[in-house]
Symmetry: C2
Subunit: 245 residues, 2 copies
């Protein structure tokens, strides 16, 4: 039995999300079916983080166990062959020790959230970024975002469906930068609550349009009440970038 | 009568190209129909450069004349409304003088060509980049590319269907850079021959994989014979970036 660690890129649009669900195709199911087709083995593929419907990944990490013997390169190429035509690409495959677990042993995840900030609609980035037409002040967003960095109770930025035992998380990084008409929000933490990045971005947008200041953001955080923070940003702009071990 | 200058972004995948053709939807036709719907006027939209089927634009420039009076902002928003759901976005609209002509008065065009250079297939960049699996040496490509910069007879890099009167062009810039597993080729010139960028990139790929050196590229250029240069790179990776006036 060999444990395999995969790094996976996907376009989240056609999927109900990372996790297997009855209501449509998931990334997890696509990977499990590709493994079954190439090896004849029924496996469970464990991801380092669940992504929602429409959320993309540049470097999702997952693992599974196989009885049959492969080389990493052979396994990568065979998985990619069997994944076609789903927009999922296995970018890297490595053998992993028995005690490696994509979710449980991860010590850090990072995401990027892309906003295209212009009046004109999106042509090249439809479904790949959040389209915000009101001018956003990226510097004000970045400055306010620092209120959220550190160890906090993130109840105000947590989805009602969130299954985490505790709302306490340590946010290591929340940087906002403007590149032309695009605004990128970089977030890193050991782990995140459900919808945490999208809820933080949706709230930072209020800062960007000048409706909120850093003090409002701090009040929302301290309220520990989801209704006191801003709306959930759409999935379109969110990318799972990497997981650390 | 007012002449209008437009800056347009599009995803080239669903189109037969910029130019109106009988065999499918074109960007030009989509724009002309949007103008007709919003103004009732039948116009000819002139582009600064024709792009082939599947080629994208970040900043194609075009112009047309309208009898009816609009403000630039109103025209931009109305055009975008009437273009839906085509993946075309009018990013900017400006009034232009009578003697402005998107193609004839342009003094420079720039393109970028994106190659994703990795073994794994593309998930997020399907149709948006050329997928090259053999490792490419971007530095060697950049060095060899300088052979093509300057005033030359580009017959070896010209499509057989090219309608330009002369194969003489001055290439101002041909830079190759690697950004992670992506290679970007930046090309700028007053104007280009049909397929010139794609033929140059297809030939530079031979340099990237080590099959050709700069001397081979020079020999191909000097041969003034299309059959002596490399293949035409696919349209997927090509983006019309901007036009100068």
């Amino acid at each position: 039995m060999q444990r395999w660690k995969l790094t996976v890129e996907y376009d989240g649009r056609p999927f109900v999300g990372w996790q297997r669900q009855d209501n449509g195709p998931s990334v997890q199911q696509s990977l499990e079916e590709a493994v079954l087709r190439l090896s004849g083995e029924t496996v469970r593929v464990h991801g380092s983080g669940r992504t929602d419907a429409g959320v993309h990944a540049l470097g999702q990490v997952c693992h599974f166990d196989l009885e049959k013997t492969f080389t990493g390169l052979k396994l990568r190429d065979a998985l990619n062959f069997h994944l076609k035509p789903a927009p999922i690409a296995v970018v890297a495959v490595e053998p992993a020790p028995e005690d490696f677990h994509a979710r449980l042993t991860s010590t850090g995840r990072s995401y990027v959230y892309r906003i295209v900030n212009r009046r004109a609609p999106l042509a090249l980035d439809v479904g790949r970024a959040w389209h915000v037409t009101r001018p956003l002040n990226a510097e004000a967003m970045h400055e306010a975002a620092q209120v959220l960095v550190g160890a906090h109770d993130f109840t105000s930025f947590r989805a009602s469906l969130c299954q985490a035992k505790s709302p306490l998380k340590t946010l290591d990084r929340l940087d906002v930068e403007r590149v032309g008409d695009e605004i990128r929000v970089h977030a890193a933490a050991r782990s995140f609550l459900h919808h945490q990045v999208r809820n933080m971005v949706g709230t930072l947008e209020l800062v960007g349009i000048g409706k909120w200041g850093a003090a409002d953001l701090r009040r929302a955080l301290e309220a520990r009440d989801r209704s006191k923070a801003g709306p959930t940003a759409p999935p379109d702009g969110l990318y799972f970038v990497s997981a650390r071990y």
